[in-house]
Amino acid sequence: MIEIKNIHKTFAKQKVLDGVNMFVDQGSSTALIGTSGGGKSVILKILLGLIEPDEGEVFIDNVKVSHRDPGRTLSRIGMLFQGSALFDSLPVWQNICFKFLKGTEKLSGKDAKELAIQNLEKVGLNYKVANKFPADLSGGMKKRVALARAIVGNPKIILFDEPTTGLDPIMTNTINSLIREIVETMDVTTLTITHDISSVQQISDNVALLDSGRIRWEGKSKELKGSKDPYVFQFINGKHNGPINVN
């Protein structure tokens, strides 16, 4: 369960978040949509404890996220970064099991590699990929490896930052299907940031629209296309005119 209470954040005199309130229930999947530079990724970084909000609080499974000690909540979270963020100097299996090799929960190299191969299979990649380096992988394979890293260790919450950005439609569909399958089989809570409306409907049950630092609309993803809300209408139809300031 994720609870965001009245979050404010300003960077260099520019208000990015202006009182964001959000609740993501246990086991549900929510997509956060909004214009580029609207503060969506900042919300994720606040959830991870990477950025400290100016005001407000965030709770993960009723535990307050602390910028000073993010470790208390990070052990419950898996994260898929926009650009995959794989470590270039490590082979795929060490990337996937990094937290079991270098972090607080230790596994032997042999066990870690076995666990990595099991997770590679979950995302549709075979064991041969385990010994490759990120530079040898395509964009879609990197995303799948990053997904394997996000789900290793059975986190209770998974955060996805633009999981299909830069991928072709076929790979986008593959990644979305994998995410849906993982969400259903692992019974996790997910929060996904995306611009892709078809992805929203494929991978999430609920949607929130963020604009000018505030949540403007919340609802079921199946209600999104028929919504009469002016913010939703402008966003999903890509209109220049409307309440969302696109300049």
Partner: protein, 247 residues
């Protein structure tokens, strides 16, 4: 003024964080060994060549200058003292700064702009402890050794030029070097190496850590790391020389 104060604050905070992480577990011994290999061992060839040619050129210059006062016999002593006190540490520091500060800043900077540093944190690994502490330790401890080796190679360069080009006999050259070179000359250079090593690693790590704006930002961070390291090495060298020899 505010920008400068802000940067001084950030550097101070960074240094404190390095020392706090230096004395608390976990210790990434494999990363430390890797850093010693890359910073210390791999700097030897370029440092050795620089010292060899500098020692040789120094012998030629001192001979040419000394001959104006019929003081050619001072060549061995001045080559040895000059290398041990000044040229060995300063040239060694500058060469290693160019090689190591740039590579550290580029590596960590790239990790920063591709979210790999954030990924480290989400995988329960402190980036300061995992990336910065090994590099600072390796540079601070290996530079004194590099400087001692560089001093020896520089003196060898002077010796080779002395006996082959300047008609010194081998025994006279060696006896003159041994009689004039004091232990304090050697140790002053080695102590300078400790400071220079710390400056090089700090400059590379700090600028990499605060890199932003993609490839351009990494380029700027790399340039800043080398410039800052070189300037601080030269300034620190003057301060230490005052402290060692004028007190």
């Amino acid at each position: 003024m505010n920008v400068s104060l802000n940067k001084i604050g950030k550097v101070t905070d960074f240094i404190i964080s390095i020392f706090l992480n230096l004395v608390t577990p976990p210790i990434y011994s494999r990363e430390i060994l890797k850093a010693f290999y890359q910073i210390g061992w791999m700097s030897l060839p370029v440092l050795g060549l620089t010292a060899l040619f500098t020692g040789g050129a120094l012998a030629l210059q001192i001979y040419a200058g000394g001959s104006r006062f019929n003081a050619e016999q001072v060549v061995p002593a001045i080559v040895a003292i000059g290398m041990a006190r000044e040229l060995g540490p300063v040239l060694g520091g500058l060469i290693v700064a160019a090689r190591v500060a740039s590579s550290i800043a580029a590596e960590i900077g790239t990790m920063k702009v591709t979210e790999q540093l954030d990924a480290l944190t989400t995988l329960s690994t402190n980036p300061i402890k995992y990336l910065v502490v090994p590099r600072v330790l390796a540079a601070t401890l290996s530079l004194p050794a590099l400087i001692a080796i560089g001093d020896s190679i520089g003196i060898l360069g002077g010796y080779l030029v002395g006996i082959n080009r300047l008609d010194f006999s081998s025994s006279t050259y060696l006896a003159s070097t041994a009689s004039m070179l004091q232990i304090s000359d050697i140790f002053s250079g080695i102590i300078k190496g400790v400071f220079f090593g710390f400056i090089i690693a700090l400059s590379g790590c700090f600028n990499g850590f605060y890199a932003s704006n993609g490839a351009e930002g990494v380029g700027k961070a790399t340039k800043s790391a080398v410039v800052a390291a070189c300037v601080f090495i030269l300034a620190t060298n003057y301060i230490l020389t005052e402290a060692f020899f004028n007190s």
